[in-house]
């Protein structure tokens, strides 16, 4: 075995002597601009959804609105309120985690992953409840309800929405599980302090 003494001062010097970072400020500014545009698009998308919901409410809640429309709208708004309330409640204590110490950050990230799993379960529950409700509404108002004019188009629309929503929920759930596993392993290895990487 080679027992030559390791010079740590020379190693530190060598470590700090790595080539300077090759990325200029320009590429960062471009990414920052891209992130800003994405944020703007998200805000505009949320705004469009809200306006759409309000428009739907106004157009369906006139004096000529049938009972089924009123029930549908009420459920839509209640679902929106429940989902928003849940999202707000679920995010509490999760702001500004990036400036915490690594141990705190890992614990908070693990909590965040747990909350994401909860979001996926909540979404799945909401989807099932809404699907049951729409089916009930469909069956009970087959002659006069929203689906009376073009039932096949309505069915296609509903099926598409259910499939898209289900796919998203499964993808989100799997991603959250993977993140949870990663942070759990990392937290375990950060606390173990046992030499070599697994």
């Amino acid at each position: 075995m080679n027992n030559k003494k390791i010079n740590w001062d020379a190693l530190a010097e060598s470590w700090q002597g790595e080539e300077p970072n090759p990325l200029g400020e320009q590429s960062f500014r471009a990414r920052l601009e891209g992130r800003r545009r994405t944020m703007l698009l998200v805000v505009l998308g949320e705004l469009a959804l809200t306006i759409g919901l309000i428009w739907l409410t106004i157009s369906l809640s006139g004096p000529a609105s049938v009972g089924a429309d009123a029930v549908l709208l009420t459920v839509l708004w209640v679902s929106w309120a429940v989902a928003t309330g849940f999202a707000w409640w679920n995010r509490r204590g999760q702001w500004r985690v990036s400036v915490a110490s690594s141990q705190e950050f890992l614990q908070l990230s693990l909590d965040r992953a747990t909350k994401k799993i909860r979001v996926a379960r909540f979404s799945a529950g909401l989807l099932i409840l809404q699907a049951l409700f729409v089916t009930w509404l469909w069956l009970s108002t087959a002659e006069t309800g929203p689906a009376a004019k073009s039932p096949s188009a309505m069915l296609l629309l509903l099926l598409t929405m259910v499939i898209v929503y289900t796919c998203w929920t499964i993808w989100y759930y799997r991603r959250a599980r993977r993140e949870h596993g990663h942070y759990s392993d990392l937290l375990g290895s950060m606390n173990s302090a046992e030499g070599q990487s697994p």
């Binding site: 500004r96 690594s102 950060m190 990487s197």
Partner: protein, 172 residues
């Protein structure tokens, strides 16, 4: 209280001049490929840019920047979806096509150290990287979130593991 845009810009530029290279070195502890390092580096800058808005001038900018950098590195690994653990391990082995004979003694030493650091458990890798960057034990304790005594223990273990790894590399 939040910093206004001009002040944040000024502080960000100052931070980059002072810690840009250190943050680039930091990426080495979390990514193996050069393209990933570049990506992580940009993500760290983004996180610092966002966090500086809330920065209190009483805090130490040095530990603040390192905390954000390391935390971003830890979460970056969680997002590496397409790369398996095996492919990450393969990257630990230096490219045989690389002309080793062209490396200077300094390059060779750095490469050995980098390989040894890559093989460390994150709990040892992080304090050692901070130590090599010149942070004191109390500063390392603040960044990692452990006691100073624990920092000393981890540094001893990390040094021992790196020494073994370097000696093993020299012997083979």
């Amino acid at each position: 209280m939040t910093l206004n845009s001009a002040k944040r810009d000024e502080l960000f530029n100052q931070t980059m001049v002072e810690y840009g290279d250190a943050l680039w070195r930091l990426t080495f502890g979390y990514c193996w490929r050069d393209a990933d390092r570049r990506d992580l580096y940009q993500e760290i800058l983004m996180a610092i840019w966002q966090a500086l808005e809330q920065f209190r001038t009483m805090s130490s900018i040095r530990t603040y920047v390192y905390r954000i950098g390391h935390n971003r590195g830890l979460s970056y690994r969680a997002q590496e979806k397409r790369r398996s653990h095996a492919s990450l391990e393969r990257d630990l082995i230096p490219d045989p096509r690389q002309a080793l004979y062209k490396l200077t003694e300094e390059d060779r030493r750095r490469q050995q150290l980098q390989l040894a650091i890559r093989r460390l458990n994150p709990s040892l890798r992080q304090p050692l990287m901070l130590h090599l960057d010149g942070l004191s034990n109390p500063e390392i304790a603040e960044v990692v979130g452990i006691t100073e005594g624990n920092v000393a223990v981890r540094l001893t273990r990390a040094r021992k593991a790196v020494e073994q790894s370097i000696r093993g590399g020299e012997a083979s």
